[in-house]
Point group: none
Chain length 413, copies 2
């Protein structure tokens, strides 16, 4: 038995005023999703617990069966792993944005006017020439990833992930200092190194020729980097060890690849899989079917609905749902359903009229051999709430699916 | 965003033989409740956990987000706080009844023939003249509250709440001794003080002129007090600290005011709010709407359904539900529903044909901005079981409502 787990990031929503009280899923009516809901068993799922607002990282950990209250070790580590950086024990990694500050160090734009990858790559080179050896024995490495995004890694002894974010998701405020959030020497030292690095970066970036050019063209300069989400390599049993399943991830976003890597998944890179609304959906679906030859468990992640929700773009969210649904027809047509379980769900609710994650449950449907069907015919938040699965939690999914796959052990006799 | 939480104590019920298998809520059909169920999202809630029989105290703690297995510190403390007694760290408080025993110290009536407040008040004065100073350095204070009810407070060092009840909710038995229920010096000492006090009280009350008069009128004498529910001041983070919400309680019953006070709620006293079936419902509804000017979270408690259930009075229970529903129309008409969440639920099931609390789930409905509607049209136990909330627990309510109010923090990124 095999499993395909499709997670449509941020797809779940609330009753939308703009849609007369319907949700985007109710309006979009993706046919392949409804088919699976009708043939399968439906329910709602609290990724963490009722009302608790999940991050994409904590939610995915829970869905893969790793209690985030025990195993979550900060977003930065997953970003680093997802970017292909060899993170080692003791390293502390941060997700970073290139951003714009004015002469008073007030943050003007958290994405430096959505700087191009080429410009950002050049600036990254300059950042890696910063020499902190007179200040600390820790090594600092900066990696550019996509567009305005990057990863900062501190390597050395006695470092700590317990430092506050410099990117606090706000503009109009002065660049905050990183502060220790645990009263340890390691946290203090890490915050000091980070602050020193940021102030050196500030000087180097301000006068960099790329930024001089950008300003002359009327573009915002990327004159600061804003780290957040300090994280360390999580200590976990691999997915293979835990379930005996050979698993692979098909995802565009760095974070999702990173989480999968941290759990020991292989990664299939699909050309044009960008983790944006313009991703290569057909390519990801084809890769999913192909992956079944070699893998027991295929995790297919699609980010677009979440991005549309964060941008409060309701039309884009609905069309993204429709496009995913249309592309997923390929999987439905080509999967051997007697040998495969299909799960469709979302990692959290991102109400498009709010533009942020919320703690409402998400719809889920499971289709495959012998699954108890129910009377639900549509894949959306309200229909699935009437389903046979009732209300489950993210941590329930792996026990449920390994039970269906026939690979769980009995507890007792 | 604001929240009104209406808890109708003991309103939930089972299928009643006398109602041809219907529940009192199904027969009563309170219109305002049904309106909210239809417009909102419904479900059933286990106040503690499936099948666990909640006390009113443990259930309310859970609903406010305080795990009663961790924070419950005995009913006596809440009774004391609710009665306006300044309870201090180290004090042990007991809920008490004035009761009647015969010459063989057999308990005849647990409420001394439902003694009047005036008589009880006089007897309380005599109790406070008891001088235990030759026996112990602990101080003992008795406070009369309402009708046959009172609160006993032991103050001093090395006292313990781990002593058994003297009121074991039974008649026809000899007054039991209080016994230590933990093997500690403090518990032994506390039981000894309590037993000494009770035997002195027995003597003083027997010959008190109030009781002589009562006997001459053929009334039962209040010749004993029966303490129960030893409790200490709970150590909790206040509701304000926990959620950042300014909260107020509108309740007649001492216990409910006490729980609210223990969590740092303000209390609004409404004239005629008695905590009985004759309470001033309209006054409580008006106070609720008015409280929204100043408070974020209004806890409205109505006791009547529970009292009717304990008295096995099915007609009274149904009419009480109707009266609450009719009075609640005022809230529905006057609330700004774009800025307010309404929650209607019960703290436990009190089957009116049994007359005691039971561990069945209770119906719940939540109505307010963006809530996902479901197909439930009626507020009762069976209809709500088909609702979009599915089955939740008491401890889920605060995470769910703070998520809706937009004041929860994300876990992860």
């Amino acid at each position: 038995m095999k499993t395909i787990l499709l997670i449509c990031d941020g797809m779940a929503d609330r009753s939308c005023k703009l849609l007369g009280g319907a949700t985007p899923l109710e309006i979009a009516r993706a046919k392949s999703f409804d088919t699976i809901a009708e043939k399968g068993e439906c329910g709602i799922m609290d990724p963490i617990a009722p009302g608790v607002i999940p991050g994409s990282d904590t939610s995915h950990l829970a869905i893969f069966g790793y209690n985030p209250y025990e195993y979550y070790s900060g977003r930065g580590a997953y970003e680093a792993l997802g970017a292909g950086i060899a993170l080692k024990k003791g390293d502390v990694a941060f997700r970073c944005n290139f951003a714009t500050v004015n002469d008073d160090d007030i943050i003007i734009d958290r994405r430096a006017g959505r700087i191009s990858g080429e410009d950002a790559k050049e600036l990254a080179k300059a950042l890696n020439e910063i020499d902190l050896s007179s200040f600390t024995d820790a090594k600092v490495e900066f990696y550019h990833t996509v567009e305005h995004r990057g990863v900062l890694v501190l390597r050395g002894k006695n470092l700590s992930p317990y430092v506050s974010d410099i990117d606090i998701h706000k503009t109009g405020v002065r660049i905050p200092d990183a502060k220790p959030i645990k009263n340890t020497e390691e946290a203090k030292r890490t915050a000091e190194i980070l602050n020193e690095y940021i102030s050196r970066a500030r000087v180097i970036l301000e006068d960099h020729e790329i930024n001089i050019k950008r300003k002359s063209k009327g573009l915002l300069p990327a004159n600061i980097i804003l780290p957040r989400g300090a994280g360390i390599l999580p200590k976990v049993k691999s997915f293979k060890e835990k379930y005996g399943l050979k698993a692979v991830a098909i995802a565009g976003g760095t974070l999702y690849k990173g989480i999968a890597k941290a759990l020991g998944f292989d990664i299939i890179e699909v050309e044009g899989a960008t983790g944006t609304v313009n991703t290569n959906l057909d390519g990801k679906m084809e890769a999913t079917i192909k992956a079944l030859d070699k893998y027991d468990f295929v995790f297919l992640h699609i980010k677009g609905c979440d991005s549309a929700s964060h941008d409060k773009n309701i039309k884009l969210k609905i069309s993204m749902i429709r496009r995913i649904g249309a592309a997923f027809e390929y999987v439905l047509k080509n999967v051997d359903i007697d040998q495969t379980y299909l799960i469709i769900t979302s990692d959290h609710t991102t109400p498009v009229e709010i533009g942020e994650h919320r703690g409402d449950p998400v719809p889920i449907t499971i289709y495959g051999p012998d699954v108890r069907t129910d009377s639900v015919k549509y894949f959306d938040e309200k229909s699935c709430a009437k389903g046979g699965l009732n209300r489950i939690r993210g941590l329930d999914i792996m026990p449920i699916i390994t039970n269906y796959m026939g690979i769980s052990k009995i507890f007792g006799e």
